[in-house]
Amino acid sequence: MNSSSSNQILEADFELGFTYTRSPGIIIGKFLAALKQKKLYGIRGSDGSVLFPPTEYDPRTAASLNDFVPVSAEGEIVSWTWIETPREHHQVKGPFAFALIKLDGADTPFLHRLFCDDASSISAGMKVKVDWNDDRCGAITDIRGFVPLTATVGNF
């Protein structure tokens, strides 16, 4: 700063953002780190069923959970909504679906994107597989979405 000029307007850079980092914890953190390696883990709940993605506590008994179980990168559609015109925040270019997908080896479905030709090609029980992102950073978006099992990855 130049102190010789008393009427100088002071300026400073300001970047709007969070000035702290946050750990996702030992359960969610392990799950997210595994995504980077293209590996998928569920967690065993109190009744023996496999919850996917892992929760830190059992949703019914509130017991602390820590038994990780590997699950498949293939699964089936449980429910879906076809979105012909994506909103800007959806971060996808063309029509797609949000879907509840149950992976083989897991007992609970989870939310992600589904890419396929059109709404009429989707049905309950339809087989799908993970389409991985090339750039993975340990986030749920390391999975770009799901595509039909028979589809060639990269077509959508």
Partner: protein, 355 residues
């Protein structure tokens, strides 16, 4: 349990976009209307509690600004919930139960037109598994609607019939935004915005405010000719993750109803009307089943949230509408419902009664 009655309620018109007034300016006239109706002044109010969402205004602690509407004096014991104002009522009801206060003024406000509400709502989701995908509130409700369709209990015509009923009943509601006569065929001809939901299946973006005054029985009966007494009230929450829930059911609503029955001795068969907070038409059907409501009960005589939806007061508005029906003698007992969270995660049930 101390008896608590609703003694006044004021709601602004539920308009699509309020261009001139800010939240405080929208609140001030409604506060006055409610106080006049109650025959009380701010001096007589022991506690004030509000419900709103800072994400809608886009500023941290923006709810604090709304306190300006109350005036600088007299100083008031005050609280806020980042939830629908129905939960502000619940906090106030608890405070009366504790014996600490006798009267409470509750308000809620939402000016949704200033942002993109469906996208904003996606940020209430857990930050690791769901929020990064930005699933907007309409898409999540559509997933739930599709799950309901797959059970075979209802079809898309049933969704449209809910809308037809809402628009028809809302013709008698001066504050409604959407009202009139529409046909199922007309509605089903519209395109999907997120299948199987069409635009009319979703509550309209609305700007508005609501104010309610409740009082312990000794004050309520003195101030109000026909208060609506809260005979039972309870709220229950389900797990956040959608895949861990039965989306076509509302188990937390049913559980809350059971608790309300224990408190009040009144079940869903014993009410004249039901005001249900269902922001999306299929949710009306899920909640109707969860509450065990039959066709003998008039559901949403106000038109419900599909006719006007002030985000953060739509739950309190259900109780307000039921209070109006009771105070005007159109009903004696009413079942009220409020919801919060994605796909009916958190639900409140109450029973109001006149006399």
């Amino acid at each position: 349990m101390r008896e608590v009655g609703i003694i006044a309620y004021a709601q602004s018109p539920q308009i699509r976009q309020e261009r001139a007034l800010n939240e405080v300016e929208m609140l001030m006239p409604m506060l006055k209307v409610a106080l006049v109706e109650s025959g009380l002044t701010m001096d007589d109010i022991d506690f004030v509690c509000s419900g709103s969402c800072d994400y809608i205004a886009g500023g941290a602690f923006s709810f604090v600004g709304a306190v300006d509407a109350l005036g600088a004096t007299p100083c008031k014991m005050e609280s806020h919930v980042e939830m629908d104002a129905a939960w502000a009522l619940y906090e106030s009801w608890l405070k009366i139960q504790s014996g600490e206060i006798k009267t409470a003024l509750i308000y809620g406000f939402g000016k949704s037109s200033v942002g993109s509400l469906p996208d904003i709502m996606s940020q209430q989701l857990d930050p690791y598994y769901m929020a990064p995908l930005w699933p907007d509130s309409i898409s999540l409700a559509a997933l739930q609607a599709n799950t309901l369709l797959q059970t075979g209990r209802y079809n898309e015509e049933d969704f449209a019939a809910v809308v037809v009923d809402s628009r028809r009943k809302a013709k008698a509601n001066d504050n409604a935004q959407l009202f009139g006569d529409v046909s199922i065929e007309q509605l089903l001809a519209e395109p999907y915005i997120a299948s199987p939901l069409r635009r009319h299946d979703c509550c309209p973006i609305t700007d508005g405010v609501s104010v309610m005054i409740i009082a312990e029985k000794s004050v309520a009966t003195k101030q109000c000719e026909r208060p609506a007494f809260i005979r039972g009230i309870d709220h229950r929450m389900e797990v956040h993750q959608l895949g861990l829930r039965q989306l076509a059911e509302s188990t937390s609503t049913t559980l809350a109803l059971e608790k309300v029955k224990e408190q009040s001795g009144i079940g869903s068969g014993g009410v004249d009307i039901a005001e249900i907070y269902a922001p999306f038409s299929p949710q009306t059907l899920i909640l109707k089943d969860a509450l065990g409501l039959t066709d003998t009960v008039n559901i949403n005589p106000s038109g419900g949230a599909l006719a006007g939806h002030i985000m953060m007061t739509a739950g309190l508005d259900r109780m307000g509408m039921a209070y109006r029906a009771i105070s005007e003698g159109q009903a004696n007992r009413a079942l009220c419902h409020a919801t919060s969270g994605p796909c009916l995660q958190h639900n409140m049930v109450s029973v109001l009664e006149g006399i």
